[in-house]
């Protein structure tokens, strides 16, 4: 019995000895561990040009929107033949966008409106985006996260028609983002001119489309596009100009259809976003005029 106890004691000492050796080996291993030195990846702060600083101040900090103007193949369709804008053209265009779009929404919807409901990226492309059919793609809103604006190099800040065309892309695409955040009554809206929507919308002129109860030719492509086009035309025109367009339509039924659509648009902005679209229209028209005057 004594002998057995003795064996257990010796086994215990042996275990202690082994644990001690293992502990020393582990500690010794730690001692040989390489220390961490910096990163192999380039973590240096990028050099900011005056343009980059402008974007940080006026877009990133102010509205939480990043502006991509340098080419990045991961954010464009590589099957298209597109190119980045001329660097000097970027800031003047962004200033116009800020004044007419961002400032107007902020003034009417509140300082945080665009900050909360906005694309996170604005991607600027220099030239036109021609489809192989010969039609032109003016803009894209991808999943509510990024608006791509083509034709940056073609913007002439002194020409009203030119600015209106460029801004209409933003107004149209931003409406999609609002709709993607809070949907509008598509079913009710679609009942106004149900039989005139067509994939061949480009075969009719804007004037012909208006006589059918649509504000533009592209409106005929779908209910969602029709809604965005209504918002677009209401915001790129003053109230007076918009009324002149509607009054110029000879078909009474078409005029009434567009007015019904206008009512749904106004109701959507009022109930869902607490924005009086007619006030927004007035502020946008005023800001547009200021851009042209300057």
């Amino acid at each position: 019995m004594n002998n057995i106890n003795n064996k257990y004691r010796r086994l215990g000492s042996a275990c202690v000895y082994i644990v001690a050796v293992i502990a020393i080996v582990i500690l010794a291993s730690c001692k040989q561990e390489d220390s961490f030195e910096g990163s192999d990846l380039d973590t240096s702060t990028p050099k900011l040009t005056a343009l980059d600083s402008y974007i940080r101040t006026n877009y990133v900090s102010k509205y939480n929107i990043d502006v991509l103007y340098r080419w990045n193949e991961n954010v464009v369709d590589n099957n298209r033949f597109l190119f980045p804008p001329i660097e000097e053209n970027v800031q003047p265009v962004l200033e116009v966008v800020e004044k007419i779009w961002l400032d107007s929404y902020s003034e009417v919807g509140g300082a945080d409106f665009v900050k909360l409901v906005a694309p996170r990226q604005l991607l600027l492309v220099g030239g036109r985006n021609f489809n192989r059919s010969g039609t032109i793609l003016l803009g894209l809103a991808e999943g509510g996260k990024r608006i791509t604006l083509f034709e940056t190099d073609l913007v002439d800040v002194s020409d009203r028609a030119n600015i209106t065309r460029f801004l209409s892309t933003i107004q149209h695409e931003y409406c999609h983002i609002l709709n993607q955040t809070i949907p509008f009554d598509e079913e009710g809206y679609g009942r106004i001119t149900p039989s005139e929507y067509t994939a061949q919308w480009f075969n009719t002129s804007i004037a012909e489309a208006r006589e059918l109860g649509f504000i533009s030719d592209y409106s005929r492509s779908s209910v969602v596009e029709d809604f965005a086009e209504m918002v677009n035309f209401m915001l790129i025109n003053s109230n007076e100009e918009f009324n002149t367009i509607i009054d110029g339509i000879s078909n009474i039924e078409a005029r009434e259809s567009i007015r019904s659509k206008e009512a749904i648009v106004a109701d959507y902005f009022d109930k869902q976003w607490d924005i009086d679209i007619y006030e927004l229209q007035e502020v946008t028209a005023r800001n547009t005029q200021e851009v042209i005057n300057n």
Binding site: R70, R80, F83, P84, E87, F130
Partner: protein, 447 residues
């Protein structure tokens, strides 16, 4: 049993020793001395250093899509880690302009021209060479994957990001921009249709001479040459001496890679040595004449030049356009312009009843006046000769005489059924003056 135990023990010992030996083989050792990130950074730095290593900048001849387009010559000068200045022979603006570039990791390290400059003109969906490339421009790329430095020549080797076409940056000479400017003057010698619309290629190899019709698509910088037995197509890139050819043209085992302009002879010559050569020259008449003049005069055939669609056709020569402009100048005080020139041959089977009809369009109300010049025809030596046989309204004849005089010149017209179409599927026939081969009018066949 004892024996079995011995065998098992032996196997265990062998296996254990194998395990131990395996452990001694260190499979985890790095194949490279540096980590992937370090190697990527080193390669980026290598490219940045290489790009800035040439004091005179770089020259690159970029064939965007061999097989359908020719090449464009660029001058690049990389000023620092992010600024490049460049110009090219894409158009007549040779200003050296600054923009941004970057060296980034794509499918491998790539040089990316990140803000707009001349290189992007090749990738403009709104500016194709012709309607066949609508939406695709000149199929160009402005991101180039880096494939290292050619040890022998010092060239930087790249492949385009989208289509993997090889592009080499060669160290520029001190006057590379001037070379580009000079190359445009050389290009004019080849493309000047005021000399004549007829050009041919005479190839002499091993004492045998072959003549090819020559057709240059100016916008695409692409040449087709053909005769009854052979045809070849290739892109060209202009330089200060002539032009290079890609893909290399191989005729009867002889490779032709460049032509040099000879001022005295007014010819582009590829001297292949040993008496072998190829020459491109302007001619007074087609080298391989057709008998299409016999086709057009068949009963009730009609052909029409339609100003809206054919004025800009590459087959409408600059001299023809100049005469059309002069006709319009004469008509403009009366608010009219030339809308069509139409030929009606052998009307109702009567060979003496033929009309050249000028349609004059009113800018006021969109109405047209049809001015008919009745003519008779003869076919002589492959030419169609049209002779005056009276006007429907002689008082209006002077308005269109600039063009009419050429069409009814006694030397006649060369007619050719072309193998291309313009905008519509109608067969295209061209009418070229034998007296002045710089006049070529393009028409649609109406049958």
């Amino acid at each position: 049993m004892k024996n079995n135990k011995y065998i098992i023990n032996t196997i265990i010992v062998v296996l254990l020793s194998m395990f131990l030996v395996n452990c001694a083989d260190d499979d985890n050792a790095e194949v490279f001395d540096e980590s992937p990130a370090e190697r990527t950074n080193a390669q980026k730095q290598e490219l940045r250093t290489a790009l800035q290593s040439s004091d005179t900048g770089w020259k690159a001849v970029y064939f965007t899509s061999p097989g359908e387009l020719g090449g464009f010559t660029f001058f690049f000068n990389f000023l620092d880690d992010e600024t490049v200045e460049m110009t090219s022979d894409f158009d007549d603006d040779f200003t050296v302009t600054k923009s941004k570039y970057d060296v980034v990791l794509g499918s491998t390290i790539k040089l990316s021209f990140t803000t707009k400059n001349d290189i992007h003109k090749l990738s403009d969906s709104a500016n194709p060479p012709d309607s066949g490339l609508i939406g695709r421009g000149y199929l160009g790329d402005f991101e180039f994957l880096y494939y290292g430095i050619d040890e022998a020549t010092g060239d930087l080797i790249f492949r385009t990001n989208r289509t993997q076409e090889e592009v080499r940056f060669t160290k520029a000479t001190t006057n590379e921009v001037q070379n580009i400017i000079d190359s445009k003057a050389i290009a004019l010698e080849l493309t000047d249709s005021e000399k004549s619309v007829y050009q041919n290629v005479i190839v002499t190899i091993d004492g045998t001479t072959e003549v090819f019709d020559f057709s240059l698509n100016v916008n695409r910088r692409f040449i087709d040459i053909s005769n009854d037995s052979d045809s070849y197509s290739f892109g060209i890139a202009y330089n200060e001496l002539g032009f290079t050819v890609s893909p290399v043209l191989e005729i009867k085992g002889q490779e032709i890679s460049e032509f040099t302009y000879n001022v005295e002879a007014d010819k582009f010559i590829a001297d292949l040595g040993s008496g072998n050569m190829a020459e491109i020259a302007f001619l007074d008449a087609p080298s391989n004449p057709t008998d299409d003049n016999l086709v057009v005069v068949q009963p009730d055939n009609a052909y029409g030049y339609i100003d809206d669609f054919l004025f800009d056709a590459t087959s409408s020569s600059s001299n023809f356009r100049a005469l059309r402009n002069s006709v319009n100048e004469g008509l403009s005080p009366f608010d009219f312009s030339l809308s069509r020139v139409q030929f009606f041959f052998t009307i109702e089977g009567d060979e003496t009843f033929n009309v050249i009809q000028y349609l004059l369009l009113s800018a006021v109300d969109g109405s047209t006046i049809a001015l008919n010049h009745f003519v008779t025809f003869e076919n002589v030596d492959g030419k169609l000769i049209l002779t005056d046989d009276g006007w429907s309204d002689p008082s209006l004849a002077p308005f269109v005489e600039a063009i009419d005089n050429v069409l009814t010149n006694s030397e006649g017209l060369y007619i050719k059924q072309e193998n291309f179409t313009v905008r519509f599927p109608n067969t295209v026939f061209t009418f070229t003056s034998a007296a002045d081969p710089s006049f070529r009018m393009t028409t649609y066949a109406f049958q």
